[in-house]
Symmetry: C2
Subunit: 428 residues, 2 copies
């Protein structure tokens, strides 16, 4: 029986879960893949931490980088995290030294994926990163294999469970952002420092990786990113009244050979599929030819979902064929142009909290007409007691740059009480 010697580097929640999983499921994995996975070595920053797994003394590496040099290591599983530092050093060295690599590190792949891919191809080893995008949703393997026949022109969806949990809980439980965030931390749905989840960076890395797989292009940093930190309960209530939900969506689209990447809170129709995805779930929607639309949905994060993804990568390496990390050889990947979204057309929701006095509304609508943005619906909620008024405007399709100009111009007016809001609408 063939065997594959594995080093797991990083033994946090995910590394420990994977260690136990591989030991418990050695037999079935061997039977399915015709090759025995052996955890030869492990390494972790904190050796003493309580892990509830049995690590033999001889399995501990003195230095994590030794895994890249030892002859009895075939595959390194990188679970350190972060685009720089030890994770970067480990993966670059591993591939250079002809070791296969499986990683859950979206930041690393989004930043250095192209370089790493070239090294992997040169040394004829695999670099697999299913676990870096949407945990248990087998999206990368589906793009590279199950949906290989399709020319994809759009991929979008909900790629961050923490944000989605917060937005859907604010809606359902009628709570404000900070209360839900505290709950989420307590329940383990948000990290103690959740900024990458909330500011869109996490989704941004995932989207870059998926774009390049969908469109056979290199990774590109031209991406519009906006997180959910400015969404408040009032916006969610307003959206509901208008027949919408607010979701943090990521979109990558290929239009006339140019790619647009964007991550932002989005108003979507209540009865749409995406609106129904609540809690920590992830959902990916792929539009392509010949297939039309495909949807894959599942747990996006956590040790179980991540292990499911890691094991699919490990199994693929156990079965033993070398694949291009990004589906195509680096020589064949395209240098497509990426565009910013300034000139894309969106319908949008704008909210202005203003002093309730005569003339304010006409000043605002004047700015709209000056910028040639036409108004589809306007709702005014005066609060006589506080002498303020809330103005909600839904626009017809308008250039993104014009919508932002309006936002900026109105912000400067002295009748404005709160920073105005702009949330793009997706009516598809």
């Amino acid at each position: 029986m063939r065997k594959l010697n594995i080093a797991i580097i990083g033994l946090g929640n995910i590394g420990s879960y994977l260690f136990k999983y591989l030991n418990d499921n050695k037999k079935i994995l061997t039977e399915k893949n015709n090759c025995l996975p052996v955890i030869k070595y492990v390494s972790a920053k904190n050796k003493k931490r309580k892990r509830h797994i049995k690590i033999k003394k001889k399995q501990w590496l003195k230095n994590y980088l030794d895994s890249t040099k030892l002859d009895d290591v075939d595959l390194i599983i990188e679970l350190i995290g972060g685009a720089e530092g030890p994770a970067k050093k480990l993966v670059f060295n591993a591939l250079k030294n002809g070791k296969h690599v499986v990683t859950a590190n979206k930041a690393l792949i989004a930043k250095y994926g192209d370089q790493l891919s070239r090294i992997a191809e040169k040394n004829k080893v695999n670099l697999e990163f299913e676990a870096s995008v949407c945990g248990g949703v087998p999206i990368i393997r589906s793009l590279k294999e199950g949906l290989i026949a399709n020319k994809i022109f759009k991929i979008y969806g909900i790629f961050n469970g923490t944000s989605n949990y917060i937005l859907s809980t604010m809606d359902k439980k009628n709570k404000n952002f900070n209360d839900v965030l505290s709950d989420a931390k307590r329940l383990g749905y948000a990290e103690s420092n959740p900024s990458a989840d909330l500011n869109g960076d996490d989704v941004s890395s995932k989207l870059k990786i998926l774009s390049s797989l969908c469109f056979n292009s290199f990774l590109n940093n031209k991406i519009y990113v906006e997180g959910i930190k400015n969404i408040d309960k009032t916006d969610i209530d307003n959206a509901n009244q208008l027949g919408y939900k607010i979701k943090l969506l990521a979109f990558a689209e290929l239009i006339n050979k140019e790619i647009y990447q964007r991550v932002h809170p989005t108003l979507i129709k209540k009865d749409s599929y995406v609106a129904s995805i609540d809690g920590v779930l992830n959902a990916v929607i792929i539009d392509g030819q010949p297939l039309g639309q495909s949807i894959i949905q599942g747990e996006g994060a956590g040790p179980a979902a991540t292990t499911s993804a890691l094991v699919s990568d490990i199994s693929s390496i156990l079965r033993g064929n070398i694949k291009f990390p990004f589906s195509l050889s680096s020589k064949k990947r395209k240098k497509l142009k990426f565009q910013n979204i300034d000139n894309r057309f969106f319908s949008a929701y704008l909210r202005f909290e203003v002093v309730d006095k005569p003339g304010v509304l006409s000043k605002i609508t004047n700015i709209f007409s000056k910028n040639k943005v036409s108004i589809k619906r306007l709702i005014q909620n005066p609060d006589k007691l506080r002498k303020s008024s809330s103005i909600i405007i839904i626009t017809h399709d308008a250039k993104d740059i014009a919508l932002n100009k309006i936002l900026k111009e109105v912000s400067r007016k002295n009748f404005i009480r709160l920073k105005p809001k702009l949330i793009r609408i997706d009516d598809n």
Copy 2:
């Protein structure tokens, strides 16, 4: 550059679409899979049919079975259809002679998959059948690869686009079964002879294949199958009033090492995910450990979706590693026990159209209590003019055998005006 010589046997809508697709996408498929796909031969019953593809004279085989003998054929794509006759002969001979096989033939795989798999394994060739189940939904590849880490205990969903189109259109357009069926035929959503779609046989074959992949078991014919032919507009309206939709669902479950397979119309809650799947879409839901629930949704049938699936199989063979057709070697697949559903518990919807006279209701409820089935809700709609009454009963969980006994006993009563209905409810 490596190349793979292909024979396409069967050139109906799907075969012709695939032929064109492979010619048009030769370059990208070669780049992604490091191997050139060459359509060396084709064969079809009717050579003269209009196909809008350019077949060279030398590509036509004299006899379709020659493809199994020629040295310059590596892969045979079987698109004849049917569990017996030419399709069976072709696939058995192809595998015996060491040719890879890709097929869209669910009937053949559901019936002879175990035997075929043994021959393929013995001769170290691939037998791939992604296109046999739910067209463009990459469910087989996901079970065998993307979700390989998971111990699956339940798979269910909507596996037949024609039935789903009919049920959802009856509901939305307020039309009866026969009208919608005629529309569906005209629109190409139903075949001219749609019986396998409507009586559940099509779904039954798909479910058998998925069960064996999910539970690592051999194929088994113990399966409860009921189609949609007895569902009428009144049932759909009643379901709506009670907060349900009616869908043709397939379920395979592993409970205490025993497998239950069933296909039947099902009442499911309006706000459930499955209830939202309308038209010709297919959706597959997988419950497993460690991942929890995964969903894959997409086009279930038609040339485009089927070609997407065929090409994913062809690509896998182009990349060149030999896999077990059912994920595990035939020596390792399990002989699990399959059970009929007699002793499973279901809540159910029963509908009795009766003569409206005193004493009828108590006679019916007596039969329920005699069979120890307790009633959760009872709705009576008398039609004084026609002197008839419609009685709808929703039961608490009860043994399937008891529910059927009630149905049988009540059917025999002389106050019954129409064959009574029993539709199982899924409240999960």
